[in-house]
Amino acid sequence: MQIPDYYEFLNQAKIISGKKAMEHIPFELRGYDAQKPLVVTSRALSESGLIKKFIGAFKDSAVTLGGIFNDVRDYAGIGLARDAAFLYRERGCDSIIAVGNGPEVDVAKAVNILVAEKTDDLFKYFEGTPLKRHLKPLIVVPACCSSGMEFTNTVTVDNRSLTSNFLYPDLAVLDPRMTPAKSRDCVAESTVIAMAHAVGAALTDIHSPMIEAYAHSALRYLGLHMTKGLKKPGHVETSLALHNAYALAALAFSNAPAGMVHLLAVELARATDISAGKFMRILLPYKMAHMMHKKMKIRDELFLALAGYDEYAATPAKDRSRAGVERVLALLAGLKGMMPETMKDLKVPKYKLGDIAKAASARSGKRYSEADCKTVLEHAWEGRAF
Amino acid sequence: MAQMITVRIKFFSGIDKELKLENYDPSKGMSLSIPSGKRLKWALKHAGLTDFSSYAYFRSGERISTWSKLKQGDEVSCLKPSGGG
């Protein structure tokens, strides 16, 4: 067990997952002396009937829902956050529940900052003034798909992100009534993002044991349930296991420095309006091929997590790291029909790759050189092997 | 006596010049009190307009025809049609 010379680890979120998990929310809220949460969710979810199930979970409880703010669509804007904060103050709520994924949770976190710090200017925290104290209790209930960023300590509002340990949700509720996905693309997108985050965390160079533990269990569930989840998105138990994987991958990711795949995918998504998941699916194989090409060691733990004890023990020691890479590629191959393989199929213009690589390496704080980013992008563009 | 309602008509594109209205303020327009249930055509004739077909009439964002009924507090803009672009 390699222990780095120095590492820090924090997971502020409490995870409760399983049958009747949502019914525990009133009790958890009592633990915070909060009885009137504001619910932030998306228009699509409230129309899909999942919100009715969510409200049903509060039967026979002392909790009154201060208001269901369901105007969030697929973009977290400051306008939405201000409206929700106004509703929060108006109703005198004392905690926030975000039902849904990416944008809903971002708006909820933004509202949390606005109401806890009693301010209207959100962006001064993005430009330097640090968050000082604990915010209001924030509960996240993911539904059908996941953007991989719900449980992290990062909030992205208006394309700007802020990371602080006070931004972790206090409670993550994974309930089998909410997790089944509606479409296979939804599952494909979420599993690829979780896979990229988990593999990134597993192969990060500071490999602290805590990060490895979270990444291990996330990869375990992905290995076991990903292929089945793609075939049957509505299957209850598989979707619950996959949602556990998304949560654990996100927690591992928020403690490890952001991997190259994540940075490149976010920049590409910004430049081309195509979702980051699709780029992660393309870039992940090439990043690993690039690491093998530069003789960087891919740790055996990756294969152990994906294959399980028996298969790991059975394969001889020297080709376990290669087997790990093959296992990742096999899992991604399951996305045959749903996601394009190269950036050329996505018609990403080639001339934009230059400044994307520059922006990504700048955001990585020079951990990844611009040349490396550029080579990975070029290979991924044409689909050329190393 | 039929109950009276007040209606406001705004003239644009030089129509107020043709009707020779003095000190006409385009933002407030001309307010008329007419018996309720009367149609736009009657109100325009009352205001002195003669040829109706060559103008476009709008009420709260929707185009209306000359024989649509008027209600209390309606605001009708009357102007020459144009194509846009």
């Binding site: 399983g18 049958k19 009747k20 019914e23 525990h24 009133p26 009790f27 009592r30 409200i55 049903g56 979970a57 509060f58 039967k59 026979d60 409880s61 002392a62 909790v63 009154t64 829902l65 201060g66 208001g67 269901i68 703010f69 369901n70 409206d83 106004f86 509703l87 108006e90 109703r91 | -």
Partner: protein, 180 residues
């Protein structure tokens, strides 16, 4: 941004499960009282409890309750459904109505419910465990084997509870529980 298109929502009540759980609590309460007279193990458990022992099992936040305790002359009695006015020494709360339904429809055994944090116990832990053992025994008496086998970690072997004693006890408990 007009706030009345986001109305405040009070989730209301689930009457069926509330009534079902109330009845089950009543039955279990009465069964404990009956068992404490019939079964020697239950008697032994209750013997060690202090004189002012008063247990209340209730569903948070204001669900049905079951109060069982020792009356003046030390006999275990089902004290009804209202905990007000009684000095409770041990409270066993079930966190939500749904959790109670899981337990009382035997989808989850009492011990798995504990493991899944459906219960919170306030007061002396030793008494709490004794009550759990009593509940297991009462369940063995009240319900047929196929159900209880799921609900209990280890169904009492012939050696511990002979079939004769079990059936006799079962009949007496049913009679005592349902006759006032």
């Amino acid at each position: 941004m007009n706030i009345n298109n986001y109305p405040e929502i009070k989730a209301g009540k689930d009457f069926i499960s509330k009534i079902y759980v109330a009845i089950m609590l009543w039955i279990v309460g009465r069964a404990i009282q009956a068992a404490s007279r019939v079964d020697k193990e239950v008697k032994k458990e209750f013997a060690e409890f202090p004189a002012d022992f008063m247990m209340c099992m209730s569903i948070l936040p204001f669900g049905p309750h079951m109060v069982v305790g020792k009356d003046k002359n030390g006999k275990v009695k089902y004290m009804g459904w209202n905990p007000q006015g009684k000095k409770i020494t041990l409270t066993m709360n079930i966190k939500s109505m749904a959790a109670a339904m899981q337990v009382f429809t035997f989808q989850e055994s009492t011990t798995t419910a504990f493991a899944h944090d459906r219960f919170t116990v306030d007061g002396d832990i030793v008494q709490g465990l004794a009550v759990v053992r009593v509940l297991n025994i009462v369940e063995v008496y009240l319900l047929p084997k196929i159900i209880t086998k799921l609900a209990v970690k280890r169904y009492p072997k012939w050696s511990e509870m002979s079939p004769l004693r079990k059936w006799v006890g079962r009949i007496i408990i049913y009679v005592r529980a349902f006759t006032f």
